[in-house]
Symmetry: C2
Subunit: 332 residues, 2 copies
């Protein structure tokens, strides 16, 4: 018997997700399908990024997938026309890759974002947008937890270009009335994240090594970080898209209490029941773009939208691990 | 008898100026030639920008001019190799043009800047750079005067892309040790500025209209602004390039005491001895990207480099007017 969930702001609505085959995008697509939305996904499936067709397992027939690149600006008008919502998640996420190939990072994280907004302005100015930004734009914190008024001093090319992408969204709201909400994501973990390497999150490669029975490396170890479970992140995105108060606003997704990388590694080994890691001195070439301790102040989104993370880091890790025990071969 | 000026940090040095046929670039080139530098200029001579061959009158034989566009990234290694200094002034400056054609603004103010820095990193990491940024990156001031710690909230595409350009310069210093200084310019006026229209500064079109005997328009009129005379701006650039303490730093060029646009217009008419202007309500489409009152706090550069503006606004206007009385036909 089919379930008849309660209608939501997305039931029967047309929703476009850029980067929708990726980690967060696909989890978001799954939630939207459950709520009865008509979901269209654009994803480039660039091998180093997060897109993976396996992420749609079970909902393949319920979404429309278009394999293409947001840098192909000629295609954008077709995609944005007629959509009620746009979750703009396509992005280059690797800090190291942004330093090795800064122009590609600029093309995707800045130039394509501007092209997407121009397409909305010309073809669908009534669309409602949520843009996935990053805590990377803050750089090394002056104080903790980091609130939304903290100075923005990105420490890598990725942070600079993501900041430009964020600014374009806010500007197009102010000048053209195109309603956007910016969410500054911190470390998000959960099923469907990239585990092939550390390009999306270092937790990915930890889990891969652990499940391969290999020793994984913890760089530094003392740094404090906060983590958001992907279901909580998806919930924040849906709230942001559906609430009037969120229009034109910027919100941190503050995670649960921060944890050191060493403690996180220990928790992971404990949850798996076996495994080993070694702590490595932070490599010099990475040190320059490392931000040290970081955790976000989530009070603004809690106050404005009533969102707070429901999932603690132990539960998040346990669920993630369980997923990859089953799905390992589809992600490496 | 040739003059034998005292040697400076630039005497006998190789200096590259991007945008060197423009307003500030050409005044800088003239100062550098006087100090015995070997000056190379790159300029695209895009008609809407500030480049004008007339700006080199009298020093044509003493500089090397290459007409090309900084977006032609293949040419950049050739230019940066062997240079001691780079004054990086090439840019799209019109706020309105950046809204009408945001991608071109991004190409010049962000993408080309990244390409210039990549060329320096690969071919001349010992180069010393001064980057011309803008007060536009601050957006509408929270307080006055605006110091360098003021939040950065650009209100147009130009401000967003110039901010990215500034960030790239600071990042390449932090990560790769490429020594840069960022100067955030406010309204600069003086001989060799564009007077064809308001693309570079509204004072340009005022002077054109005045000299044509036509009524010029003052939009709003109550807004307070500060103005830097171009010779003072050039002096700040030379100081910034030659002083160790300036490396990796950001400085406002704080102008003389601020003046309202209406008072400035009155001063201009008085200096010219005749003329007329009318005050117009601020046009709606411009209002959205206007920043209201603005004047910069110049204490940081005064304290660090001992620079302060020597030229008051009346003298600046008088000299500018005198130049265009002579040179009008070469600039319209």
């Amino acid at each position: 018997m089919p379930s008849h969930p309660k209608p939501t702001a997305f039931t029967g609505k047309r929703v476009l997700i850029t980067g929708g085959l990726g980690f967060i995008g696909s989890n978001l697509a799954r939630a939207l399908v459950r709520q009865g939305a008509e979901v269209t996904i654009i994803d480039s499936l660039i091998p180093e990024y997060g897109g993976n067709l396996r992420n749609l397992a079970g909902i393949e027939s319920k979404v429309r997938v278009n394999i293409s690149d947001v840098r192909d600006h000629h295609s954008l008008p077709v995609f944005v026309r007629g959509q009620d919502f746009l979750f703009n998640l396509a992005g280059q996420t690797s800090h190291m890759d942004s330093m090795a190939d800064p122009q590609t990072d600029l093309e995707i994280n800045a130039r394509a974002q501007l092209a997407i907004l121009e397409a909305c302005r010309a073809h669908n100015p009534a669309i409602r947008i949520v843009f996935a930004s990053t805590r990377q734009i803050y750089g090394r914190p002056d104080y903790l937890p980091v609130d939304e008024n903290h100075p923005l001093r990105p420490v890598d090319v990725n942070g600079i270009n993501k900041l430009a992408g964020e600014h374009y969204h806010l500007l197009y709201q102010q000048v053209y009335g195109i309603r956007s909400t910016v969410l500054r994501l911190t470390n998000t973990i959960g099923p469907r994240m990239r585990i092939k390497d550390a390009r999306q999150t270092f937790v990915g490669i930890w889990i891969r090594r652990l499940l391969e029975g290999a020793t994984f490396e913890v760089w530094g170890g003392e740094q404090l970080r906060d983590f958001t479970y992907v279901d909580d992140c998806v919930e924040a995105m849906l709230l942001a898209a559906s609430r009037k108060e969120a229009e034109g606003q910027v919100f941190n997704l503050g995670g649960p209490p921060p944890v050191s990388l060493q403690a996180l590694a220990e928790m992971l080994v404990e949850l798996h029941g076996s495994g080993d890691f070694k702590v490595r001195v932070y490599p010099a070439e990475r040190k320059k773009i490392d931000i040290g301790d970081f955790y976000a102040d989530g009070r603004r989104i809690e106050k404005t939208l009533g969102w707070h993370p429901r999932t603690g880091v132990r539960t998040a890790l346990a669920r993630t691990l369980a997923y990859y025990r089953r799905e390992f071969r589809n992600y490496v």
